[in-house]
C-alpha cells in the first residue's frame, strides 16, 4: 500500500501562486465576496503565505527583514489532530495516508478547524456561489456513494472542506488501470498543484517506496516540516532555501 507524500523545494518556488489557482479550478473551491475575504473567509486549499505569518522579534524591521514564502496544502499528517476531534468521523485517514473529508457527513461543528494547527481547513460560511461563466465549467469529477460526498463535488453550506491531495485523480488513475487490465503505477497519479507548478518545485510520490523521489528528498539535509515539534508528522516535506 502506498503512503502518498509531497515534497516542496523552496529553492525552486517562485511564489507565483499557480498551485493555488490550479487547485481552485481542479477542486471547485468557491470564491467569496470581497467583504468575506477581508474578514478572512477566503478559501485557499493551497495557500501561499510568508513565513513567519505573524511578525516576531526575529523577523526584523524594514528594510532588514527576513521572510520566505511557503505554499501550504494540507499536511496529510501521519498523526492528524483533526480526525481525532471529529465527533462523526467525517474526516479520516485512509489506508494510503490521505486525510479525507466527507461533506455528506460533516455536521459543521468546526472542531477540526480549531484542532488543525496548520489552518488548512475551511468552512462554508455561505452557500458556494460562482459567476455564471465559471459555474458552467466546474470540474464534474467527484467521489460519491451512499452517505459519501468527497473531492471536487460542490459543497453544501455549513460544512468543512480541505485539500485531499486530489483524491479523485487517484480514483481515476486506478480505474483506468483496471479498465486497461494492468497494474496501477504510482507515477500515474499527481495532484493538480504538482502538475502545474511553474518552477517544478513540487514532487509527489510514495514514501514507502525506498527509490521514489519523495523518499530520497526526505533524507536530504535540507528537508523540514512545518511545526515539526507538534508531533503531527506531516507528509508534506519542505526543502529549505539556500
Amino acid at each position: 500500500m502506498a503512503r502518498w507524500a509531497m515534497v516542496i523545494d523552496l529553492d525552486k518556488c517562485v511564489a507565483c501562486q499557480g498551485c493555488s489557482i490550479a487547485c481552485r479550478f481542479e477542486n471547485n473551491t468557491p470564491a467569496v465576496t470581497p467583504e468575506d475575504a477581508k474578514m478572512g473567509r477566503a478559501m485557499r486549499w493551497n495557500d501561499v503565505f510568508p513565513l513567519p505569518v505573524n511578525p516576531t522579534e526575529d523577523t526584523g524591521e524594514y528594510p532588514n527583514v527576513k521572510s520566505e514564502y511557503v505554499p501550504r496544502p494540507c499536511m496529510h499528517c501521519e498523526n492528524p489532530p483533526c480526525i481525532k476531534v471529529c465527533p462523526v468521523g467525517a474526516t479520516f485517514k485512509n489506508e494510503e495516508g490521505i486525510v479525507e473529508q466527507n461533506y455528506a457527513r460533516c455536521i459543521g461543528c468546526r472542531f477540526c478547524t480549531v484542532g488543525c494547527p496548520y489552518g488548512v481547513r475551511y468552512f462554508n460560511w455561505h452557500k458556494p456561489d460562482w459567476n455564471p461563466e465559471i459555474a458552467a465549467h466546474l470540474n464534474p469529477d467527484k467521489v460519491v456513494g451512499s452517505g459519501v460526498l468527497e473531492g471536487p463535488a460542490v459543497r453544501p453550506q455549513g460544512v468543512v472542506e480541505k485539500c485531499t491531495f486530489c483524491i479523485h485523480r487517484l480514483h481515476k488513475a486506478r480505474e483506468r488501470a483496471v479498465v486497461e487490465g494492468r497494474d496501477f503505477r504510482p507515477d500515474e497519479y499527481v495532484p493538480a498543484c504538482v502538475q502545474t507548478c511553474t518552477g517544478k518545485a513540487r514532487f509527489f510520490g510514495d514514501l514507502d517506496d525506498p527509490n521514489s523521489t519523495v523518499t530520497k528528498f526526505e533524507k536530504s539535509n535540507r528537508s523540514f516540516r512545518l511545526l515539526e515539534d507538534e508531533g503531527t508528522h506531516p507528509k508534506v516535506i519542505y526543502l529549505r532555501q539556500g
Binding site: 478547524t113 489552518g119 453550506q157 512545518l226
Partner: protein, 517 residues
Amino acid sequence: MLKVDAHDKEKLIDPLFAKPGKGFIITVGVLLLIIAFGAFMYIRQFLFGLGETNMSRPTYWATYIVNFVFFIGISHAGTLISAILRVTGAEWRRPITRVAEAITVFALAIGMTQILIDLGRPDRLLFPIIYGRLQSPIIWDFISVTVYFLGSVTYLFLPLMPDLAIIRDNMPETAMAWQKKLYTILSLGWRGTREQWIRLEKGIAFMAVFIIPVAVSVHSIISWILASTLQPGWHSTIFGPYFVVGAIFSGIGALFIAMTGIRKAYGLEGYIAQKQYRNLGLLFITMNAIWFYFTFAENLGIATGQQVYEFPVLAAKLWGSFAIPFWTMVGIMAIAFWILVIPLITPKSAERVAIFHPRFALGSIGGAALMIALMFALPVMPIRAGLNIFAAQTVIWTLLILEVVIILLGTTLWLKAHPVAATAIAAVLVVIGMWLERWNIVVGTTTHAMLIPYATYIPSLTEIAVTAASLSMFILMFMLFFKVFPSISIWEVAEGRRVQEHAARSAPKTAKASEAH
C-alpha cells in the same frame, strides 16, 4: 390528605394560585420580545449560513461557544452545590436547594441549545449518535451533558414530588381545572406513607452521590474540548480543575442572583435568611480565591516560557487586543472579593475612622473621573504629550488604583449593613467576570492561531441577539417554573424545623448556642 403549616401555605402555596402581577406580566412580555427577535435572527442564520455571524478563519469558535461554556458553568450552581450540601448534611441548605436545582436544569437546556445554534448543519444533529467517534471530546461531552441533564431533572423532580402532593391536597378552592390535574398527575400518587418516604430518601441519597462525579466530569470535558487541541493557550493540563472551579464559582453567583430575586419577588425573607447568605458567601469567597490562584498559575507558565505561539496569546490579554476584557475580568473579580471579605473583617467601630466615611468615597469618584478624563477623554496636545512620560503614567495609574480603594473603603460600612445587597452585587460582578473569562480563553486563542494571521473579532448583531435571547429564555424558564412550582422545598423546610426541635429537646444548651449565631 397531607397537612401543611399555615404559614408555609400562605407564603409558598397560595402565590402559585394568585393572579400574576403587573410586573410579572411586563417582564414576561419584554423577555418574549427579546426571544422573538433572537429567534428571527437565528432563522436568518439558519437560512443564509453561519456567515451571518462575524466568525471567520481563524476565529472559528466565538460567542456561541463562550455562551455554551458559560451556561454549562452556571449549571454547576445547582445540582452540585445542593448535592454536596445534602451529602455533608448542611442543615442550612434546605430553603435554597430547589432554586439551585432549577438553575441547573434550565442552564443545561440553554447551554446545549448553544451547540445546536453553533452547528453549520443543525439538520445533522443526530449524526453524533449514529456515527459517533468515541475519540472525540465532543462525544464525551454529549454523553456527560446528557447524563447530567437527565440526572438533574430526576434530582429536581424527586424532592419536588412530596411538595406536589402537598399542593394537590391544600389547593385553594379557586384553583383552575388544569392546575388540579397537573399537581395530581405529577405527584404520582404520593400519599406520604412510611414506605414511600423510605424509598424517596434512598433515591435522593443515591442521586446526590451519583450527580457529584457527573457534574465534575461535565465541566472537565468542556475544558478538554479546548485542552485536547494543540492551540496556543488551550493545550494545558490545568484546564480541567480550572474550569470546574470556575463553573462552581459562577454557579454560586447565579444561585445568589436567583435566590435574591425569588426572595424579593415572593417575600421569602423568613425562609432564605442571613444564615444562607453568610454560609454560601464563605464558599463563594473560597471559590474566588481558588479561581485567582488557578488564573495566576495558568498564565505564569505561559509568561515565563515565552514560546513563539503561546506568548502572543497572553500578551494580547495583558496589553493587546484583549487587555480591556482581561483587566475588566481581573478587576471585577477583585472587587467582588473585596465586597464579600472586607465587611466581614471590618469591626463595627470602623465608623469612627474618617476614611470609612462616604464623603471620601464621593470625593474619590470625582478624582477618578478626572484621572480617566486626563488619560482618555481630553484631546489637548500638551497634556497628551506630558502623559507620554512613563513616570506620569505610573503616577496616574497609582492614583487611580488608590482612589478605587478609597471608594471601596467608603462603601464598606454600607455593605456591612446590607449583607444581602452586597452579596447580590458581588454575584452579578462574578457572573459577568466569568463570562468574560470564557471570552478571553476561547476568543483569545482562536484569534491567535498558529500559521494564520492574527484576527480581531467583534460579535455581529446576530450573535448579540441570539445571546440576549438565550439569557432571556433562561430567565423566562426560571420565572415560569416558579410560578407553577414552589420555590422552596416545603417538606424539607418542615423537616428541618423538626430536626431543630428535636435537637433543642435533646440538648438544650448546644441548640441555644447555635441559635445565637
